[in-house]
Symmetry: C2
Subunit: 194 residues, 2 copies
Amino acid sequence: MAKVLFKREEVIEHAIKLFGQHGYTGTSMQQIIEVTGLQAGSIYHAFGNKEGLYKEALKQYSDKSIQRITRVVEAAPNVQLGICSALEDIIDASMAKDYCSCFLLKTQIELAASDTSEDGLYAFSLKRLAQTEELYKSYLQVQYDSEESAAKATSIMLHIFGLRVYGYQKKSAQKMRAGLVQGLPWLPWSNPHN
Amino acid sequence: MAKVLFKREEVIEHAIKLFGQHGYTGTSMQQIIEVTGLQAGSIYHAFGNKEGLYKEALKQYSDKSIQRITRVVEAAPNVQLGICSALEDIIDASMAKDYCSCFLLKTQIELAASDTSEDGLYAFSLKRLAQTEELYKSYLQVQYDSEESAAKATSIMLHIFGLRVYGYQKKSAQKMRAGLVQGLPWLPWSNPHN
DNA sequence: TATCATTTTGAATGTTCATTCAAAATAATA
DNA sequence: TATTATTTTGAATGAACATTCAAAATGATA
């Protein structure tokens, strides 16, 4: 049997970048073909169709995204400092020249009205974002009771979504940091003047 | 000269609904033609092209949006209670069956990577959202100094963006209320048990 | 080497897209 | 009523879209 000539993960990374920048309807399969160097037939053979490719992109993005939070929080001296690092990570990401928010958030917003399938792209994004909140809640339960952990996790998610949108404003990093200190005063923010 | 047969504002309202639900690339001019009942030529005569129609939709939406905040805040006994009402208004909106976040926010997210024009749709959305923050800051300056007003206004915007995204989760109204009480404890939230 | 399941090629398909424009209809004005 | 500026009609245009498929290439296995 013929060998697969391309690296699946690399093709998906290209798809994440394109879909993440221009959205589902805003990205054409022609663009995918151009940046990956593959032929139309190869992509359809490997991923079925546009939706199939998008879904794999979504999976790969969200897996890495959740892994990243886990890594950052668990590398920190304690949970609270870890959460601060994870949030500062989001601010740092917003300073990139080609910043494009969060792929899951963008998918949710773009496809909410059209993709009503129970295991479609919208439902998948919603689920993964809910899992992220669960992850934060589980970290918080080391220190707080269940109810307070839930409220604080929701508050963190509101701030994450807020940062993901607010980040489009240029030179907003300092404002966002001040906003986090205002809205999440129970976290151990380091003084930027030290 | 021939009389204009359609009501411009109503056509734009249809455009706001369609563009707001499915986005710029996700909405076709054919859909606009179907819901408005106009002919292709009439729409192009009146609005130039798709972008022109979208821009008028954005203008009309953002005008009403800022008017609404003004009305709600100024109808309240004081600024802080008014801001609470404006935020609860956003939670209420998220409970609608066909909830589709905020048209300005969606435009910003969809077009950030492709529309780099200085007076394009993306730049316009960004500007109007910045104006909203300025509006909140101006209300807060009745009570707080300039620096604190700015930080609190940013915190409010982070929460607004957060709510606009979080609202896609079904049955999230109570969680969002708890999140606001957590993140904006300096506002006079009413006890829901009274 | 011959067989065969698999992958790759890339032109072709049919649909949908935004947009145009000559012609017809309209109504204010002369 | 005749003129004229404006609006409406709706079929036509060409580009871009996602997707298909028969044929060719590939390489593991017999």
